[in-house]
Subunit: 382 residues, 2 copies
């Protein structure tokens, strides 16, 4: 199948540092190539992929210092539109900006919504373009927009990777992510103190959250059980999570998915998580972790987590949360779209693609071979 | 002529408080109606106009607490597209979001760019959609994008209003606008102190500029010549400007137009302005003000400003900067577009308007008569 993946441009695919959406797009893209599909990835020029890469901008916009991404995204979408007839399916990961230009091509398009949907700012658009098929990443994510055009609910997946080793000495609880009020690191600290078990906090502090860190969290770090180790890279996560008794995920917001829960699961590590957002859909209660509603329940859960079968946790990960499972779920939806649109005459691309004016900006470089990636660039700095 | 005016949604048209673009859209719209055109204004529901009002959202988004305007704007643009065949010309004031949906209709479209163009974030889009006709508000504004598709340069205009009275006692310099580093209120204070003339500062302080106000400006306010009177409303501006010896406009950024200069001119008040952005195109040196490059030059200019003929300043305003002149300039461009597109067959709307799916969101209310405004609403809160 000829598939286009259209990534956000904030970070490269995969991202150099943070960037949940770009990581998922990378895992999905690589897995689709692995499964034999003809995949084109629209992303920033510093992305790395075994698919064909169309470089929409030279580098990820955040590290490139571009604050407003709208123009870059619209230009990428225009390039996608002009190449649309080369694809059977176009899979967008950029929220809503593509709706106007692809309104005639909805039969070939799919949009995964990666963010929270409880902010009303965005609601009008889903009603104005009701034909655009949407994919949620949890059932809970849909709640604010139950009547949108939901085609499927597809949970994220990770590359399966090697089985976790069994030689770890597990003597601490883990908190991994951002220091932010809605992530509730303060709850994690309280749970650890009550349980008398060390807590390691591996987290970055965004500028927006510096005040919260300085005034709420930093004063609590001066305790023998609490260790703040700062931001860690992807390659350190495996040990950090795999060596922990449990991941604490005491969130206080409608988390649309929560990748870190399945990253822990992959290492055989259970999660103790608050009953918010996607949590009950990701954690199998009593098997891959515990879902709690209070500090007291969390304290009990920490003691029970030691007894969970870590091999079963890993097995559940392999059953439910691999990139392979995610890719197969998406392919099933792509095929469903193709079957439906095969009944339509004429091919809906034709109209969308009928631009009277050539887009003279778009200079396509010859394909570059080498390290498995072919690259075409249409970005020209102005 | 059947004309659509498409306003930003941040503020109502005209705005309740600040909002330069929305003020200009209001003046242009009212003047076009006055000149006998059939005008439809797409704007927030709390707008007031003698044109037909299409209410894109219930109220201006900033005061309505909506932070991300993208979805609301795209929905409004979709409504414009669906009604496009009712208009001879569509005039956009919303920057760039309309380019994808109206790429086939560029012959009937016009976009006035109201902001600065020296930030590279937005440059890619003007190259990707080179067919979209653009209007600048100063020649200087164009400098970062000289090769964009500039159709015309049309300076802003104000309603002419009554002639300024001549009974004012003029004994102070005026600074009007925002307290912000690029507006350089510190320069205004220094000029006043050197000249020994009182300065009245009528300005709001945005949250983003609170630090600058507290640390740079506030310590300088404790001086017998300096008076900070805070934010003033539109109705107070006339006296504030008309009673001043001169307006100080010591900017340090590429101001695309600078409405306050022509607001002063309307009251017969000259402007002393730094040579940045649009200033040399707006101020007639030695007639409606002085253009300077230093504090020393400004000090000299202040003394000379008293000698300027205020009737001549007002007369120059009437010649160059009325809403009537602005509207006539736009109508000339609209007519140019119509002549060009009349040579095209088929009518370019047809394709753009050929949506296979009805947009079931759009509920058009019956026209409401009363106070000269007819209103249709398509917004439904979700």
């Amino acid at each position: 199948m000829r598939i286009a993946q259209v990534a956000p441009l904030a970070e490269s695919v995969p991202p150099q540092l943070y960037g949940g959406t770009e990581r998922v797009v990378s895992w999905l893209t690589e897995e689709l190539v692995e499964q034999g599909h003809d995949v084109t990835l629209f992303a920033s020029g510093d992305s790395k992929t075994s698919a064909e890469l169309v470089r929409a901008v030279p580098q990820g916009l955040r590290l490139g210092g571009v604050r407003d991404h709208t123009a870059s995204l619209l230009v990428m979408l225009e390039e996608v539109r002009r190449r649309a007839s080369s694809f059977d399916v176009i899979h967008f990961h950029v929220d809503l900006l593509q709706f106007p230009a692809f309104r005639h091509s909805s039969a070939h398009c799919l949009t995964t919504l990666h963010g929270r949907l409880d902010l009303p700012d965005f609601h009008p658009i889903y009603r104005a373009f009701p034909q655009m098929p949407l994919v949620s990443i949890s059932r809970n994510q849909r709640l604010p927009l139950p009547e949108a055009n939901w085609l499927a609910n597809i949970q994220h997946g990770l590359p399966q990777g090697p089985a976790p080793s069994n030689v770890h000495k597990r003597d601490y609880l883990a908190f991994l992510g951002r220091i932010a009020p809605e992530k509730r690191p303060d709850r994690a600290i309280e749970i650890a103190k009550r349980a008398g078990i060390p807590l390691k906090i591996a987290a970055k502090v965004d500028p927006a959250d510096q005040d919260y860190f300085d005034h709420v969290i930093r004063p609590q770090l001066n305790h023998p059980l609490i260790e703040f180790i700062g931001e860690i890279g992807d390659h350190e996560k495996r040990d950090f999570l795999g060596n922990a008794i449990a991941l604490l995920f005491p969130i206080d917001w409608p988390e649309p998915f929560g990748l870190v829960m399945i990253e822990a699961m992959k290492e055989g590590t259970p999660t103790i998580a608050w009953r918010r957002g996607s949590v009950p859909e990701v954690v199998d209660e009593g098997m891959t972790g515990f879902i709690v509603d209070s500090i007291e329940e969390a304290e009990v859960a920490v003691r029970r987590a030691v007894e969970l079968d870590r091999t079963a946790v890993r097995q559940r990960f392999e059953e439910r949360f691999t990139a392979s499972r995610m890719a197969s779920s998406y392919v099933a939806e792509y095929e469903g779209l193709l079957e439906q649109s095969a009944m339509m005459v004429p091919h809906p691309w034709r109209e969308a693609d009928a631009s009277p004016t050539p887009l003279n900006l778009m200079v396509t470089a010859p394909k570059i071979s080498g390290d498995g990636a072919s690259v075409s660039a249409f970005h020209r700095p102005i």
